[in-house]
Symmetry: C2
Subunit: 508 residues, 2 copies
Amino acid sequence: MSAQWNRFLELMGEMVDLAHMTALAGWDQQVMMPSRGAEERGRQIATLERYIHKLLTGREFGDLLSALEEEVEAKGTPYESREASLIRKARREFDKAVRLPEQLVSEMAQAESLAFNAWVEAKSKADFRLFEPHLSRLVELQKAKAEALGYKDTPYDALLDNYEPGMTSKDLEELFSELRAELTPLVAQIARSRSTKEHLADNPLRQYYAEKGQMDLCRKILDILGFDGNKGRMDKSAHPFTTQIGRHDIRLTIRTRTNDLASAVFCTLHEGGHALYEQGLPDTFKRTFLGQGASLGVHESQSRLWENVIGRSRLFWQHFLPVAREIFPSQLAGVGIDRIYKAVNLVEPSLVRVDADEVTYNLHIIMRYEIERALLEGELAVADLPAVWWEKMEKYLGIKPANDAEGVLQDVHWAQGYFGYFPTYTLGSVFSVQLWQAACRKEADLAVRLEKGDFSVVREWLNKEVHAWGASLTMQELALKVTGKKLTIKPYIKYLKNKYSKLYDLAL
Amino acid sequence: MSAQWNRFLELMGEMVDLAHMTALAGWDQQVMMPSRGAEERGRQIATLERYIHKLLTGREFGDLLSALEEEVEAKGTPYESREASLIRKARREFDKAVRLPEQLVSEMAQAESLAFNAWVEAKSKADFRLFEPHLSRLVELQKAKAEALGYKDTPYDALLDNYEPGMTSKDLEELFSELRAELTPLVAQIARSRSTKEHLADNPLRQYYAEKGQMDLCRKILDILGFDGNKGRMDKSAHPFTTQIGRHDIRLTIRTRTNDLASAVFCTLHEGGHALYEQGLPDTFKRTFLGQGASLGVHESQSRLWENVIGRSRLFWQHFLPVAREIFPSQLAGVGIDRIYKAVNLVEPSLVRVDADEVTYNLHIIMRYEIERALLEGELAVADLPAVWWEKMEKYLGIKPANDAEGVLQDVHWAQGYFGYFPTYTLGSVFSVQLWQAACRKEADLAVRLEKGDFSVVREWLNKEVHAWGASLTMQELALKVTGKKLTIKPYIKYLKNKYSKLYDLAL
């Protein structure tokens, strides 16, 4: 490698080191930090981010990038090679960073800090009016951000691209229109079904489960998944998350609820899926921008695959129920596979997204997407949000929030400046089923090994087909490569209809 | 404040932010990090340190420093003011940083990394020859470091000054010669005393104490000391330490031994003393170089005061024994204050420094000081170290190690490049007694409040007299200000002789 390449990699390595320390500071803040450390931690993280930004937008890195870009092009280095992918990814990060004026970035940080505090108060008082002026300001700033980043059709695309590279609202519309059309009646049918009430009344997971046993059980789940405890750890936090602190240091957090075993179990499967992705990234991508997930949507495909496709399957619980019964013999004695399978697949329209089931979840996302886009395009005034929220809730889910706290104020995302982010949750669910069907088609051993309870076959396949690419490819490129098709909604809808029509005795 | 001052403070604040993140990375490494994270963590810390070094030695900071130095001088800003102290401290850090050639710093880092691994192997095999070539290299590099930093009398002084600003080996010789002369016969007398054997046979702290109860008890100790749990935390690690991660985030670690309650208790008192110092630093020093302890020796005066002067006093155990008995009723039922007081003040010459008692501890330090200085001055060849070690052990403590592992290889300090560091342990002990006597003299309420078991009076006094100065003053300046005298050995020797002649029925 040339001296230019070495220097380019060294600078990138330093940025990754500092980003990992930022991740550690964030993990620590949510898991370990004493309460009074909060004020200074914000500034510490800001200082780290400022140095990463300086390195990224610095003249030296920019010049090296241009020179190596020419080199890669002149040599005709293949698109999927490490070199070409590195340059492509670095160019993307560089362009985004230099396009955002420092003034705007600092105004946004300040506005978000104020908005977060206002959101906390507004939510606790269930009063949207307290948050409204802050949200208006945030929407204005997000519009300015979209203008600075640039877009073709709608400002929404500029923001979406930060989380899902290459994806546009045109792509989303294609997927969502079909999903909207199919899910709304499905949810209504399930709600009318007699089985729903039976499910609700007969849920063995809603009993008292002691904290300590739940943690032990969740560690067993990580073992089943094949999470490497020498290269990561699991802790508790108020809001579960997964983070990369080093190539061999991947940490997930979960939460437990003593009156509901499902909460911790599915949280562990979900975050475990994220963590396996991070642990599965190739060593050759270490200390580079390729050593991370391809996008939020692809990341979510991994967590949803383990949480839903595997974790809510009858097969999984056939193997897992005896394990859980060993730790909770009194709660689970006499509970058979049928009861459990129904319990973990309970569909029930609910007001709060994070508590939603596999089917209704997507309607929460579609709603937010529609609202966000209308806000950014100036079609919806912030003041009208609560009313629009109620309207959409009733239309899609047939229920209405009693107040703003369980309505428009339920998520923190907007207060933290995450606009264009929600759709990645549904994109991930859609992709998870597409990936799963490819695995069933392509991996000969899959069925046999799963039947034996050897779930590592799934991890191994994902590792080879998805994790190995790191951030080299976009979601669409990955979909094409792994499944032979771009992202498609059909298999996902078919999967949901099949599964839930059987569970709820529906005639579809 | 002028724009220059603001910029100077902002740059210093960023250095402190990055130093705190380095501290977090170090804490996490010893307390939380999964095993495989180690390799990358070293590099992450090195990257953070490189950026701190760049900021410190950068042209901008140097120019601001010179300009403000002139301003402070022209204005005649008082020596003890925040401004003058800040400039003085920054000048000191700046000069040290620019004097060390980058080449030397990187050679040392590399040599220490290799030496550490060699030390681990050599210690496990009890074979000094495996470590010898590495130690020789380290000594050569330390000599070069001393030359680069500059000194008047001996290269040892250049290194000592890094840990104890302003202190020289001439000062040490004055203190140590008297200490050496008084302690060696005292230790021999105690060893011959009949009481020692009685103490050894009758130690209620050497029974089985369950881990969980020990941790609970240690948290009670922190409560007694007045440690603020909203501004810090306590965890376990192999090697106990205390670290500052933010102005309001001070963390200590302890270790427990299930067959010896004393280990965790005195470790908590010791690290607790360090932690109170850090928690007691004034808010006005936040994000500046003054927001830390004055020196390692002053830091150690705080830990030793709590560990020994308070923690090994009869009064402390009168109040603490009932607390301990509540958690460990079966082990401590019927154990009275006399037995406990003797047990926690057992003097017994031992081979390993970290297990040494209050009296013999200093002889371990004096030995290492003599050896280190002889190595740096070329009076002692590395190859002759094991023999010299045995000789000094016999001379000072009357015992001999069976092998190198419990002899010359016992401490990791040299392998990590800490030369000129050990004396700060004894300086701290000496200063702790001098401070204590000043407190008894100056604080009217002290005796009354202590009698009631209100130990926060000690923390409050130290807070006002010592902590409030941060790193503004040196140990000698502090001693003069707080006690009216420079550091003096007499009170310390008198304290040890009084206490231990009573305990061991010695006629001195």
